[in-house]
């Protein structure tokens, strides 16, 4: 519990914070670029994923833990979320078969 407590200095955290804010601003600006919905969704999600990765690895210290902890936790979560995506063929079908 102690050794990894000092893994990063103040400066590192502040720069992560800066990047997170920068990405947020970038997202907001992007949202006003009149892109069609789907490319926009993809880009925004990719950016959010980067932000999430920054938070997880630095603020939540996962980068300074053993790799095995990451391997225990995240494959399962990602797998489940990917599985949840299997709902979407149906959302499209619902869109097509929908009656008022």
């Amino acid at each position: 519990m102690s050794e990894q407590g000092h893994a990063g200095g103040k400066k590192l955290y502040l720069s992560v914070w800066f990047w997170l804010l920068a990405l947020t601003i970038f997202e907001v600006i992007l949202a006003y670029q009149r892109l069609p919905l789907h490319p926009m969704l993809v880009i925004l999600m990719a950016l959010s994923m980067i932000k999430a990765a920054l938070i997880i690895s630095y603020f939540m210290h996962l980068r300074f833990e053993r790799m095995s902890l990451f391997l225990t936790l995240f494959p399962a979560l990602i797998f489940c979320i990917v599985m949840l995506m299997l709902f979407f063929p149906d959302a499209i079908r619902l869109y097509e078969l929908r009656v008022p």
Partner: protein, 261 residues
Amino acid sequence: MFLAFLIWIITLITMYGFASGKWSFPVEAATHAHQMDRQFYITLVVCGIIFFLAQMGLGWAMYRYRDRTGAKATYSHGNVRLELIWTAATAILFLTLNLMGQKVWAELRLQAAPAEAIRIEVWGQQFVWNVRYPGKDGQFGRIDARLMSDSSGNPLGLDDKDPAGKDDIVVPTMAVPVNHPVEIILRAKDVTHSFFVRELRVKQDAVPGMAIPIHFTPTRIGIYEVACAELCGLGHYKMRSTLEVLSEEDYQKWLKERAPQ
């Protein structure tokens, strides 16, 4: 070891039950019914063999290796080759079985109904079925949920301002001509129901807010019962209607009798 005999006996009785022919599907009254039944019987044979071998093997192991005084169990942690063999064997078996079934499914559900199919709407509601024919114009009239009322005789809420709806026929039982493709569009007024006709081997949920198309071609004249197969409330068990498969002439007569004046 008594259990071994018991398992054998139960296995045999079960297999007899399935094989006796006393419990079989109702008559086949649609074109796809035969393929479907065949897939079932193939699966039955395959599973029957596995069932027999596995239960017999289980019983045999229990009988042969029951507690024998002085005997000692063989010391073994398993046999990797054997395991690989049966894993591969079951995998191939199950996959083949599955692919055979998929073909029939694709024909039944992935293809759209043929253009000449008769289109009929079937509506589920607590706890009756309503059927709508488009009438001579082949067009379904507009429907308005606000007008739906069983008590005033307009269960589907036909809007009489729409000319296309003037000749629509709304009836509680249905009829279709034999050897002619039929497309049924399933709708529901309140909760989810399921349209089930045993002889036609047809079942599909009717979901509120969706219009789900299915299609089939009846091949045998007769009167069949329509049941509801999705829990829809306390009257679920008595949500019954009938489906008549008629000859072409009888079907036209049937329609004429019911056409609104």
